[in-house]
Amino acid sequence: MDIAPLRVDTLFLESTRLTSGLYFVADQEHSLAPSAPNINTLTRLDGSVYLDSVDGVTKKIPDLSNIADGGDILMVSSNGSRLRTFLSQRSLQNTILVTEACENLCVFCSQPPKPSGHIFTESLVALRHFSKACTIGITGGEPTLYWDEFLQFCRAVSKDLPNKNFHVLSHGRNLSDTDRVAQLVETGFFDKSYFGIPLHGHNSKIHDAATQREGSFNETVNGLINLSFCNVPVELRVIVTKQNKKFLRFLADFITTYFDHRNFFVAFMQLEPVGWAKANYQSIFAEPESVADELSLACENLQASKFSFGLYNYPQCHLPLKLREFAHRSISDWKNYFPQDCGECIKKHDCCGFFSSAIGTRLNRPRPIL
């Protein structure tokens, strides 16, 4: 039977209650950064006994070591009964969802936007206490939506957090404003960040249909040009769908013509059936066989023009032979699984596997390479 493992990052408390908000997990080796503002702490006393700094009471939280180590930051839900890792020393990729609001309404959005505030202030406090040198993902929603707060955040992390770099997943539209980009240059944030920006087509017709926002193509491309002026590295994300699959070579040509190969990396991505992509699955999912030729042409065009690129979420058996070397094992092990047919496949170890969220859809049909 195919069973997909779930990532353990959340802990439900039984009778114990904590105060809603961020907590720093302290132990003998990890204590609060002295220069940073205050944050709640859970200090590990003995085994599963922790001292809660908010009420000064010792509490029993037996499973905490499953989700958190000393030095981690946890977030407690509003009713105080649920704990979730916010920043983890163990994780290879810490990502902060700073807001759930977004101007675009992409038909395949995995995290459908909703009206929401932001958590820049909290994120900054957490980051100040998180000692690990690493790259932090900033995602949403749209991280640049609350521009002033975003800018303030960028200024603070650039000044105070030398051991952190940032990957910002944005639709790039707000970066079409040169004044805003100038503000961002001034913060020094570009020296420690790169941007992941989706581009869905070589013209506004295709791109705007995907984002369901007229004018988004122009703004995004203008944003990309601005980043190009600033020499900021960009990961261009192309979600391959039924709607753009016939135009991938043109998208590749557009990218090589309009942008600079030194700063741009192109990521072709198979969509994950979650969020709206799940709801719209039948109308947007492109069968791998129907994409192979066009994807090959696009990759060849990029390669000839010296652009770097990669293929994400594509199982090896969904790709033509010549493209397999560019596929990444991109699906995290808590999100992927290998159906029974994959058992004998010789490419299994190079393969990203299948989204566990795709069980029961056509996306998960393997063609083992024997």
Binding site: H202, N203, S204, K205, G215, N218, V221, N222, I225, S228, F229, F247, R249, F250, L251, A252, D253, F254, T256, T257, Y258, F259, D260, H261, R262, E300, N301, Q303, A304, S305, K306
Partner: protein, 467 residues
């Protein structure tokens, strides 16, 4: 639908209209009728997606995207001028044990010790370390590099101390001088690349490259080549060939077969130089550029046939133009940049301490001794700048974007020039670039390659394995 500025040219190879733009996008239109349609009513053309992707047209809602992208591309290109040079050429001696009839550098005889470098390797290393880009190539030119090995060992060792692994070393040699175990060990240890002169055909090599002491030059070359291969240095060697009239007459098939029979799978062929002794022997050995282009056309077709039948042979002379067309911004070939790479992408330190902006500048100096060509002199540890406005002038003239005729050429986005060429061929800084041999060569080669790419004869598979 919005139409953006574009260049056009009728390609004589296929009669189609080559169109290009300042973003480096290019495409073909079937004929003049399509060209007229593009101008008058672009939306009636059948290939709109391609034209849109390549920056020729865009939606009427696209604002100033094209202009901003062009500005960004140009900014990137010109910002190179603010970077340090990454090609550092050093001539430790002008002496050479060969006496080639088409020598471009006006070599000096073996016995002439006045043509050896007098500066200390340490002083030169200090100078290079101070001015070179973070990653650079040290190219040892000549004369014959192997006649100055002690100097080169010391220079590389001093540079290693100053710049670690940040540079690669290329020695230009015709492999005349004896090779010992120390040299072989050093090549292995330092990963030295040897750029070896070999003219493709054994008998033509013997005929035009006369060795002054060691008998037949081709026999010597083959003997030395074998020695390097036996020492495990095959991968360190690349071959540079100068094509004479006789080579052209024999045709590309024989040329390829001759190279393959000697185990040579990659070569860089070039036309006869316009400098040095070559400029005076040209009437005997030379040919018209048209004949050279014709040869290159059938040569390219042979390479394509060869590739399709599994033969492993390629000539790097094509990769220069292929890169220009497919990745114009990735091409860093110093002699083909606009503005020129002269004194900015690279420079040359001569055996006499003179600094030149390019190899061509020193070639011209060696045959004219015109001091204006000198940028400065290195004496002991002092660098003395001989600035006279001349070099800025040369650079100014090398902005093809502002040069008459060039500024409307369809190949402008893929072109570049060593500014010494106009001086050498036309005695003038501005010159009439259309009549330069390099202009005719570039146009001819780009005609060929764009046609073969368009027809599909030159496949992406070939491009992938060749460049």
């Amino acid at each position: 639908m919005k139409l953006h500025p574009f260049f056009f040219r009728k390609n004589p190879e296929n009669g189609k209209i080559f169109i290009s733009n300042q973003l480096g996008g290019w495409s073909f239109l079937r004929d003049e009728t399509d060209l007229h349609t593009l101008i008058a009513a672009p939306s009636e053309l059948s290939d709109l997606d391609r034209l849109q992707a390549k920056g020729f047209i865009s939606g009427s809602d696209s604002g100033d995207l094209y202009e901003r992208a062009a500005e960004s591309k140009m900014t990137h290109r010109f910002s190179r001028l603010g970077e340090k040079p990454s090609l550092i050429m050093v001539v430790p001696t002008l002496r050479c044990d060969h006496n080639c009839r088409y020598c471009q550098v006006s070599r000096a005889p073996l016995s002439s010790s006045a043509h050896d470098i007098q500066l200390s390797p340490q002083a030169i290393a200090d100078f290079i370390a101070a001015v070179a880009a973070p990653k650079f190539k040290l190219e040892i030119q000549g004369g014959e590099a192997l006649l100055a090995l002690d100097f080169i060992y010391a220079l590389v060792s001093s540079l290693n101390k100053l710049r670690g692994e940040d540079f690669e070393v290329v020695l230009c040699t015709a492999l005349g001088p004896s090779i010992d175990d120390r040299f072989i060990g050093w090549c292995h240890e330092e990963g030295i690349r040897l750029s070896v002169s070999f003219d493709g055909f054994v008998d033509l090599h013997s005929k035009f490259r006369i060795h002054s002491t060691k008998g037949d030059s081709a026999t010597r070359f083959l003997e030395q080549k074998r020695k390097l291969e036996d020492a495990g240095l095959s991968d360190n060697i690349s071959y540079v060939s100068t094509l004479t009239k006789e080579a052209l007459e024999r045709g590309p098939k024989d040329y390829i077969d001759s190279c393959l029979s000697l185990g040579i799978h990659r070569i860089y062929s070039r036309e006869l130089s316009e400098y040095g002794f070559a400029s005076s022997t040209k009437s005997n050995l030379g040919y018209r550029i048209e004949d050279y282009i014709k040869f290159m056309g059938s040569y390219l077709d042979e390479l394509i046939v060869g590739f399709n039948s599994g033969e492993d042979f390629f000539d790097y002379t094509f990769s220069l133009y292929l890169t220009k067309l497919l990745a114009p911004d990735a091409s860093g070939h110093m002699d083909a940049l606009s503005p020129a790479g002269y004194a900015t992408a690279g420079f040359l330190l001569n055996y006499d301490g003179r600094i030149f902006g390019s190899d061509e500048a020193r070639m011209l100096y060696e045959s004219t001794k015109n001091e204006r060509l000198t940028i400065g002199k290195l004496r002991n540890k002092e660098f003395e700048l001989q600035e006279n406005g001349f070099h800025q002038r040369l650079l100014t003239e090398s902005f093809l974007e502002t040069s008459s005729i060039c500024s409307t050429c369809a190949y402008l986005p893929f072109c570049g020039l060593d500014p010494i060429a106009t001086l050498n061929q036309q005695g003038d800084l501005t010159g009439f670039k259309k009549e330069l041999s390099q202009c005719q060569l570039t146009i001819g080669m780009l005609d060929l390659i764009s046609d073969r790419l368009d027809s599909g004869a030159l496949t992406r598979e070939m491009v992938k394995s060749w460049i």
